[in-house]
């Protein structure tokens, strides 16, 4: 059983590391890095699903009969694009936050907001 599933487990472990970075870290850039790792690990999981033993890349050629499953590849191509789009937008937000708050740490931003509210 271990041999059959270990690949998924590694993917899951990686996902969880990414997920941990997202929720536990206060620095916004690092949160985004964590998000990227989380997503990339999900991609690894998807691709693992599509693997066929002794299969080859899904480009038709003479003399090959076993191909790995092309559908997960397509899905992940799409998902990678979605991921980079999210990252780009997130980074743009971080830049703006830095400009208007002067910092990129979660705690400090929340403190600044509280101060603001007390003033008004």
């Amino acid at each position: 059983m271990f041999l059959g599933l270990y690949n998924y487990w590694i993917a899951i472990l990686l996902m969880m590391i990414g997920f941990y970075i997202v929720i536990a870290h206060g620095n916004l850039v690092k949160k985004l890095v964590g998000l990227t790792i989380f997503q990339t690990s999900v991609f690894i999981f998807y691709i693992s699903v599509g693997v066929v033993e002794r299969g080859s890349a899904p480009i038709l050629a003479e003399g090959i009969s076993d191909y790995s499953n092309p559908l997960p590849h397509v899905l992940i191509l799409t998902a990678i694009v979605v991921g980079i789009a999210t990252t780009a937008l997130g980074l743009a937000l971080v830049i703006r936050i830095k400009e208007s708050y002067g910092c990129v740490e979660e705690d400090e931003i929340q403190k600044l907001d509280q101060l603001n509210e007390e003033k008004s």
Partner: protein
């Protein structure tokens, strides 16, 4: 694996970004090992390329150090452990890794593998599925990129660029002279990068590659140019407002293929009616939509990078001005 843990521990953000780039590259290697060449190609250019570049651009603005943590993240650890535990529990009934008789390989996929040559006529099955069977997904994907492009624009557009002062130009000149060797080498390299991008664009039917990868590579080539010759020089060559229009044109090009097939009496994105012979129609359809993808991706990536860079310059300039004011005051 090791790298992911290192990322958790490292507080220097520059190192974190570098490591995440390496992580992207490694996962790309994994994808090659398991025969997902198209995905590997994309992940290498995105995970290790563009996203790293963007993050670098961002941390030059936001600063490199992460503040030390004050509270112990037990709650976070707990949530993560529960989620991970659930996932591991879920794997118990999964078909084994690589098993050829798993349901994934039985139901929908065989038709793609066996029939796509007759139905679409493209040797690269991934391109066939991406461009034809699931073309609507890809349209959505282009729309996502386009959305991100507009989103970044709406966040970062500067009201109006002011005229450069002469001192700025002088420093830029200086900087560029220092990197003479790099400049000459890359000047020779850039045409090849762009050429390679075009090759990837139009060769996607046969080998790994396609509009998305080509777009990213193309953008990377121009970004390299920008980094070496300065934003202003690059924007003289590639006018930002034209680039923004191009992003819109790419998306429209893609969607209009669908509209044309609708006018010809078939369903949206049905390429069979684009030419007399269905296979030719498929070829034309895939070619055009890939072109649309490429145009949008390249121009969106570029405009995102330009905006990041413009912000950085604006900040630097304002800092410099502040410095000058301070100096004049002390005098």
């Amino acid at each position: 694996m090791v790298i992911a843990i290192a990322i958790v521990r490292t507080r220097n953000l520059l190192a974190v970004v570098m490591l995440s780039g390496i992580y992207g590259l490694l996962s790309a290697c994994f994808f090659v090992v398991v025969d997902a060449v198209d995905v590997a190609f994309t992940e290498a250019s995105v995970g290790a390329g563009i996203s790293g570049l963007l993050m670098l651009a961002a941390i030059t603005i936001t600063g490199r150090k992460e503040a030390p943590k004050r509270h112990k993240p037990f709650l976070a650890l707990f949530v993560v452990l529960v989620t991970g535990g659930m996932l591991i529990y879920g794997t118990m009934d999964m078909p084994y890794f690589g098993a050829a008789d798993a349901p994934v390989h039985q139901h929908v996929a065989p038709r793609y593998i066996n029939e796509s040559m007759q139905e679409v006529g493209v040797p690269n099955i991934v391109t066939a599925v991406l461009g034809s069977y699931r073309a609507f997904d890809t349209l959505g994907e282009v729309a996502v990129i386009f959305t991100a492009g507009i989103g970044v624009l709406s966040l970062l557009t500067l009201p109006r660029r002011r005229k450069k002062t002469s001192s700025d130009e002088a420093t830029e000149e200086q900087m560029h002279e220092r990197h003479m060797v790099v400049r000459i080498v890359s000047k020779a390299l850039i045409p090849f990068i762009l050429l390679f991008a075009l090759y990837v664009q139009f060769h996607g039917d046969f080998g790994p590659g396609g509009g998305f990868q080509a777009g990213v590579i193309f953008a990377a080539g121009i970004i390299l140019y920008t980094m070496l010759f300065g934003l202003d020089t690059a924007q003289k060559v590639f006018n930002p407002s034209i680039i923004q229009l191009l992003a819109a044109v790419g998306l429209l090009l893609y969607a209009s293929v669908g509209v044309v097939s609708m006018i010809n009496g078939a369903n949206f994105l049905d390429y069979n009616v684009l030419a007399d012979d269905p296979i030719d129609g498929q070829h034309i359809g895939i070619l055009i939509i890939e072109l649309g993808v490429g145009i949008t991706v390249a121009s969106v990536m570029l405009s995102i990078f330009f905006n990041f860079d413009a912000r950085r310059q604006a900040i630097q300039n304002s800092n410099k001005q502040k410095g000058e004011q301070d100096v004049s005051r002390t005098l």
